[in-house]
């Protein structure tokens, strides 16, 4: 299975480069092979090989009993998945995009998230809801919303947001093995991106802990938190800032619920400045929670007001130039980091 990955040698150590799509596919494959109770359900996951080809080859390998093509009934098949999880199976429910999960949100919250609590521990729900989240390119208002903040507000759920192939593999395996409902937010634009991985990551027992953020790049002047696609932009912003003498520490959150407050606060206590970056709507967003956590726990360490970068407070427009203005760009992150470092910056972005 892993032999299809391209092997490049980096600095003498053995590393392969795999795309996020390959990472997710291999993680699903390995978990389904290890545990016969794991099954995949969703629209176009079988014969179509997955709407975004994430489940390629799985129908052929595991058969129609374990890879189910459903009719277009989010509420129905999500409920069915939850019921199966009640009785000990481990479903992986795919939403073609998380926008469609709104048709099923009653089951995600009321049947899945709250059940362990309502039954006083008798019924646990080992289910994974996964699919692309957030904006793609030119897909309009109803296909572009980020649901991280909504789901992360809910007790009983775990919310994961992988960025790289290593994140995708490790977090999906952890999610499938987890006894609680997990919302696994992928990103369509990251599927084709390739990342170098070590041999450890390619091993079938590889797993990442849920609730631990990763410091992608260490720095000493400002902490920038991001998740999913925004991590890539933050890293680019860090390069630009480095040229101006600002050393940024980039935190890849990986887990929105539970949020790794320790890592974030420890970082801010080191750098004394915070910029949060997210793609979703600004009000009540992930950044709001992070900023509050830092103000509550590390107020004395802050040398500058916290900065939040989020998507525009509008439904996603279709026109290409408006869409670009509605989503954070590298320049926005750079400007916010400079503001936090008391550098002079123009207030408005140029179009």
């Amino acid at each position: 299975m892993l032999s299809v990955f391209r092997r490049k040698v980096f600095h003498g150590s053995f590393i392969a480069a795999i795309t996020v799509r390959e990472a997710l596919n291999s993680a699903l494959d390995e978990e389904m092979s290890a545990d016969p109770k794991v099954f995949l359900m969703g629209e176009e996951v079988g014969e179509y090989q997955g709407a975004y080809k994430i489940s390629k080859g799985l129908l052929e390998k595991y058969g129609p009993e374990r890879v189910l093509d459903t009719p277009i009934t989010e509420a129905g098949f999500t409920g069915i998945g939850v019921g199966a999880a009640y009785y000990g199976l481990r479903p992986v429910v795919e939403f073609m995009t998380f926008n469609f999960s709104m048709q099923a949100i009653d089951h995600i919250i009321n049947s899945a998230a709250k059940s362990n609590y309502m039954s006083a521990g008798q019924i646990s729900v080992p289910i994974v809801f996964r699919g692309p989240n957030g904006a793609a390119a030119g897909v309009g208002a109803q296909h572009s919303q980020c649901y991280a903040a909504w789901y992360a507000a809910c007790p009983g759920l775990k919310v994961l947001t992988p960025y790289s192939s290593e994140d995708a593999r490790g977090l999906l395996k952890a999610a499938i093995r987890d006894p609680d409902p997990v919302i696994f937010l992928e990103n369509e634009l990251l599927y084709g991106e390739s990342f170098p991985v070590s041999a450890e990551v390619l091993d079938s027992s590889f797993c990442l802990p849920i609730g631990k953020a990763k410091i992608e790049k260490e720095g000493k002047d400002v902490t920038i938190t991001a998740f999913s696609k925004m991590v890539g932009l933050a890293l680019k912003a860090a390069e630009i800032l480095a040229k101006e003498g600002i050393s940024a520490e980039i935190i890849n959150l990986r887990s929105i619920r539970p949020l790794d407050r320790d890592t974030i606060n420890a970082s801010v206590r080191k750098t004394n400045r915070l910029v949060t970056v997210e793609e979703g709507f600004p009000q009540h967003g992930v950044g709001a929670e992070i900023c509050t956590s830092v103000i509550e726990e590390s107020f004395g360490y802050l040398d500058a007001p916290v900065e939040r970068i989020a998507g525009a407070d509008v439904p996603m427009p279709y026109a290409a130039n408006l869409e670009r203005s509605a989503v954070p760009q590298v320049e926005d992150i750079v400007r916010a980091a400079k503001r936090a470092c008391y550098r002079a910056v123009p207030m408005a972005a140029t179009a």
Binding site: I72, A137, A310, D313, Y318, A320
Partner: protein, 432 residues
């Protein structure tokens, strides 16, 4: 003249074609099968041929008015289904739809159009057959496959093309895109990306029509709503909830199922326990009708009855149009799962070619007139592309417009006044 609402007995129809019928055994064999489909779907047209599938006759709820109408119209005129003027109007509308969609594909591959684009090639008979019978005040609710519904309803090709290019001259100022076409003037409500989403909205529009007549005493308000949706939608809960309420409250709505047998790569037969969608109408107390959606004249006949029923206040109808999309689900769909033989069969039933043949055979029009229309449409579509190309992109200040009808919804700014009153509000970055 045959109407489409008669029971399944044999009705002579001048353009009945013989079709092969798969056996009942094949039907049950493919349900739940993991094999790729290699068969031709059953094509029963109630308004035509007498083949059955060896199943018991379907039961309709048929109102007496239909039977009465059928008796009356059987004694009328020439037996032709359409006049020359109507025929050419219908032809022009279908060619506009086809030509426009083909141009969309070209523009997409040239990068002028982006995101999700779902084309309607092959299904023109349904859009034209229904929408051309409506008044301007009647309402059409569609799905993401809405370009041709927009054109048939009367939105100028220029505005639709501009919208697709994301320009400020589009029908939604570039803010909606391919999947979200709206027009208050022409009463086109969407453009919904989520399947099933448009059905309750359409039911609400029909409710308004009835409310205006009964609660607001506008006794001449007889507006009808058409809800277009696909076969995949018919497995969604919202569909059933609306069938129930529309029948319960006798709303002036027609539920038009564009059954093209495929929901992206999911075959209708693999996903539906009982694939005959028209049957779901009588279960809720409304007539359910199946019609050959590749033949615009048959669709028109059924549409006249259904829209007439709604206008007279007799309640909803469920019409299942058996049709086919010649292209993939969207321009990003590789379309590998559909059998080429199936595609070829339906290509042979191209609605535009069928209508043209009927009109020529019955001496309603000649080649020259058709060519003139083709040329006219080509010019309209070319012009729409030029117009869209030359139109400006939305200005930056448009980003924050139209979020609220009352822009005070953006709240009060740091200076104590409403943010919308500050002229700099729409000029700055839209950051928190």
């Amino acid at each position: 003249m045959a109407t489409a609402f008669s029971s399944i007995g044999v009705i002579q129809n001048p353009h009945c074609e013989s079709r092969s019928v798969p056996s009942r055994k094949l039907y049950s064999a493919v349900l739940g099968s993991t094999q790729k489909f290699r068969f031709n779907p059953p094509s029963r047209s109630i308004s035509g041929c007498s083949e059955t599938l060896g199943k018991p006759s379907p039961i309709y709820a048929i109102s007496e008015v239909f039977k009465e109408k059928k008796r009356k119209s059987a004694s009328s005129s020439s037996g032709l289904l359409i006049t020359k003027e109507e025929g050419l109007e219908v032809y022009e509308d279908m060619v506009l739809g086809r030509c426009f969609e083909d141009m969309c594909a070209q523009m997409y591959y040239r990068g002028k159009m982006f995101g999700f684009v779902h084309l309607y090639n092959g299904q023109e008979a349904v859009s034209t057959g229904f929408i051309k019978l409506l008044k301007k005040e009647d309402c059409v609710v569609s799905t993401y496959r809405d370009h041709v519904h927009a054109l048939s309803k009367g939105i100028p090709a220029r505005e639709v093309m501009s919208e697709l290019f994301g320009k400020t001259t589009g029908c939604c100022r570039g803010q909606g895109g391919s999947m979200h076409m709206f027009s208050k003037e022409h009463n086109l409500i969407g453009g919904f990306a989520f399947i099933g989403e448009g059905i309750p909205v359409a039911t609400g529009a029909a409710f308004t029509s009835k409310y205006r007549r009964e609660a607001l005493n506008e006794t001449d308000c007889d507006h009808v709503t058409l809800a277009f949706f696909g076969d995949g939608t018919c497995n969604n809960g919202q569909f059933y909830e609306c069938l129930n309420m529309a029948a319960l409250w006798k709303l002036p709505i027609v539920f038009v199922v564009e059954n093209n047998l495929w929901a992206i790569g999911m075959s209708h037969l693999r996903s539906t326990s009982d694939p005959e969608i028209w049957k779901k109408g009588p279960a809720f107390g409304m007539p359910g009708v199946h019609v050959d959606g590749m033949d615009v004249l048959k669709v028109r006949e059924v549409a006249k009855e259904a829209i007439g029923r709604a206008r007279r206040g007799e309640g909803p109808t469920l019409v299942e149009c058996e049709t086919y999309r010649f292209r993939g689900h969207s321009l990003a769909d590789p379309d590998e799962l559909r059998d080429p033989a199936e595609k070829a069969r339906y290509a042979a039933r191209d609605p535009i070619a069928t209508l043209k043949k009927y009109m020529i055979d019955n001496n309603l029009a000649n080649e020259v007139e058709f060519k003139a229309i083709d040329k006219k449409i080509d010019e309209i579509v070319e012009d729409s592309v030029e117009f869209a190309d030359g139109s400006p992109q939305p200005s930056r200040s448009q980003l924050l417009e139209n979020v609220f009808a009352d822009p005070k919804g953006f709240g009060i700014g740091p200076d104590g006044r409403y943010r919308c009153e500050d002229p700099k509000f729409t000029e700055g970055t839209a950051h928190v």
